[in-house]
Symmetry: C2
Subunit: 501 residues, 2 copies
């Protein structure tokens, strides 16, 4: 009897979570539209749609039956491994949701919609003061969220926020790996810069690079990597991202007629995200266990494509004649050796998304420290620009001349994504570790890349990473795929080989 009751409870949970996720998917699509298609004047109506969707989703999850079903299903030992994992992930979502009242969810949704819209203007006008009050409102609601979730999850407020993006991720572990990187990177950066200075100057390909041509090349490469345009699109947005749903993945980029490298590598990066989404197991669509494991692993898939694969010498040798042909390029700039050095040039800069992989962690460490201080109340939002600029000077020796090149550059905080930034660097470490394991696991992967055949790599990733969705924890998944939990070794080895090898 108990078992039958429990099975029924589990089945009811599957139905509920399927509906909740369908509404979440709808929200995702409306977010995509907001960033790519929506005219400015649609912001208020869209904010209303998103707020109502968020509160309806929340009230469905937080209904009294959900807790009863979870309790009943907990005793059910007939669930197989996938279902048991699904139940675990359902409970996680339920705990996160019920920590907040419907009113809190609604206020947060409205505040982030308003702040994100204001950020778009503030960034364009380089005018932090206009967005400041809205960001203060967002932070105050985020702190309220963090406190409530900290109680519900028995975690620190920061860990409670982090847990929503990186399940089981903890600041303590981040501090440890970031500490190792801080011990390694400054010296290493110095050596790389010195070595680069001794090499022949890099010849930057000269534009203009018509946007249509950039897009055509990007689409061709996306197809080579395995992106299926019957199940996705490539569009333009102010801040590149991967959105949509696994069967309809929407990636975006932004083009600059004066440079083609940034948009192109941005597309290949988002393609890595898209392939992860697309590779999630179809049998578990719209169920918690069927989702990507977390943002660190998500970022590992984009960085594996962008940094490990597409900035490798093998790939650039493949790319060089294609790019030359697309843009009608001539001369030494288009030689593959020059292009390779162009694509792996290390140079401290202001903008995170344009940063090379050696200086990138500094951008993340800065944001991580600042957001911890802001959430802890040790830093006021009005003091953010100064703290940002000071941090940049200390970490990379650069003082941003404007907030546009400083604390206005990223959408995350304005859009309510606090506790998200560290996943970028965790992802970079995981990318190196996973790609090393993949190369060791199948020799056809590296030779395939040189031949423009990415099928062996994709097959390995589908089997070891994508297809496992959220069945395991990030750590378990990494141990199963690579033999060890997340560490900095592979990343350091990768940097040594690529930049000083």
């Amino acid at each position: 009897m108990t078992s039958k009751l429990a099975v029924t409870a589990y089945a009811q949970l599957e139905e509920l979570f399927g509906k909740v996720q369908a509404l979440g998917d709808a929200e995702g699509m409306l977010h995509w539209d907001l960033a790519t298609m929506m005219p400015k004047g649609g912001a208020e109506a869209r904010a209303e749609q998103l707020a109502v969707l968020a509160t309806v989703r929340h009230s469905m999850l937080a209904a009294p039956e959900t807790g009863e079903w979870l309790a009943a299903a907990d005793g059910d030992d007939t669930l197989d491994a996938w279902r048991a994992a699904n139940l675990r992930e359902m409970r996680r979502k339920w705990t996160h949701a019920t920590a907040l009242s419907e009113n809190q969810v609604e206020r947060l949704s409205r505040a982030t919609s308003a702040c994100e819209a204001a950020w778009r203007d503030a960034r364009a006008d380089d005018d932090f003061p206009t967005v400041l009050p809205k960001l203060e409102t967002v932070l105050s609601l985020v702190r309220e969220t963090a406190e409530a979730k900290a109680q519900a999850l028995s975690l620190s407020p920061y860990d409670a926020l982090l847990d929503a993006y990186e399940p089981d991720g903890r600041a303590q572990d981040i501090d440890r790996v970031f500490g190792e990187l801080e011990a390694f990177l400054p010296d290493f950066l110095g050596q790389v810069l010195e070595r680069q200075a001794q090499q022949a100057a890099i010849v930057a390909p000269e534009g203009p690079f018509p946007i249509d041509s950039q897009r055509a090349l990007a689409v061709r490469l996306m197809g080579m990597l395995g992106f299926d345009f019957d199940h996705g699109r490539l569009d333009v947005s102010l801040h590149p991202f991967c959105g949509g749903v696994p069967d309809d993945v929407r990636i975006t980029t932004r083009y600059d007629e004066g440079h083609f490298a940034s948009a192109l590598m941005g597309v290949l990066h988002e393609t890595g995200h898209a392939l992860y989404e697309r590779g999630l197991p179809p049998a578990w669509r719209r169920q918690p266990v069927g989702e990507a494991r977390g943002m660190a692993l998500h970022e590992s898939q984009s960085l594996l494509m962008e940094m490990q694969v597409c900035r490798s010498r093998d790939f650039v040798v493949l790319l060089a004649p294609m790019a030359k042909e697309t843009f009608g390029g001539e001369g030494p700039a288009w030689e593959s050796d020059n292009l390779y050095r162009f694509y792996t040039r290390v140079e401290p800069g202001f903008i995170r998304v344009d940063a090379d992989e050696v200086t990138y962690p500094a951008h993340v460490i800065l944001r991580y420290r600042l957001e911890r201080a802001l959430i802890a109340g040790d830093l006021e939002v009005r003091d953010l620009p100064a703290a940002w600029n000071e941090g940049m000077e200390r970490l990379l020796g650069l003082k941003p001349p404007t907030d546009r090149l400083g604390c206005l550059q990223d959408i995350h905080w304005y859009d309510g994504a606090w506790g998200y930034f560290p996943t970028y660097t965790l992802g970079a470490l995981a990318a190196a570790q996973i790609f090393e394991a993949a190369r060791n696991g199948d020799a056809a992967i590296v030779s395939g890349i040189a031949d423009g055949d990415f099928a062996p790599l994709l097959a390995w990733l589908r089997r070891e990473i994508h297809g496992k969705a959220s069945q395991l924890s990030t750590s378990e998944l990494l141990v199963a795929a690579t033999g060890s939990p997340l560490a900095t070794d592979s990343f350091k080895r990768h940097l040594q080989q690529r930049y000083l090898g």
Copy 2:
């Protein structure tokens, strides 16, 4: 005490309907995306999103409190005219919703999503049999819907469907006006064709007309008519439509490089719809009384722009040099007199959306008769192609050589829109009646059109039609704006003047 309770009930209803409409708006946006942006492989996920949204919306409306609040608010005599009308429209929506179970709503949503997707392929491949079973499923659910709503509304099944698109619209009234048109149009058409045959041949402008140029001209004209691109977009879809929400109106068209007239007039038509949406009173956003009055009046606004204004001689004189310049045209085809005759040419054809205003009612009468027979069970779906072709031969003397030029041409039935078609011709009658009243009401309207100044026309429409939203019934609104309820007189006068004048 009663009054205070009642005010509270009304306020609760406003909050509820605001949320329900925000979800409806989200659905509208996802429908727009489906038709314009979504890759083929996204259909299943989208169907799930739409089905869940429809059922959630339904269950919110059908919750027991709604009926209690409606009953409590009914006794409230403190409501002003707008609030009282809002309450009336809330009750209408509630009655339509509660006539169906959540399960019926879900089945209908899924069946129409599946059928619409199959129709896209069937139309492309001219293959009615592949979509037949799905259309049979849709019809059987639509008949179930019609029966249930007929009970709830004390109407005939067909009127119950019609009422959802045209509140208070009744087949009896449609039969009367369609009868008057059938008595008038065949003879009239013969006279027009005879007269045209005696005139000098029309010189069709020769293409190709690059799509970018067509779009640029369309955008320029949209702006002249008053379309605000900060609150809307123009995109491409297989079947042109106006979607989105009043503050973010999304219109679509389809381009043909060989002809520019069809896409251009299609855009001007949808612009008329868009201006209506945009002119709805901001104070009543997301409330039932703030919506457009019904599809007949909606179509009156698109046809007023397209047929009454943009195919008038004054407008074509304005358009001719702009079109000539845009396409680099030369020769007699671009003379305004030739273009005017080109834009008002009458010629029986297979395709409704390409039909002139003289033959258009025959297309609608055919569909109206067929859908009534299908809903009544007097015609089987498998016999639809033959019945369609026979009807076309009887009404316009043309036998469609393929179903693509026959019963596969329109999305409506496949997408679940039954009881919708008659509103096109009701709209044509209303357009003539409204434009006649507008011209009589403000002399600046006609002179403005000749000068490319549409502000006087838009101001009149905003005041007399758009701004009234759903406060009055269609009939009351027409009487207030034009002095009489819907009749065929103005339409006949308009045709006489334009084609035999």
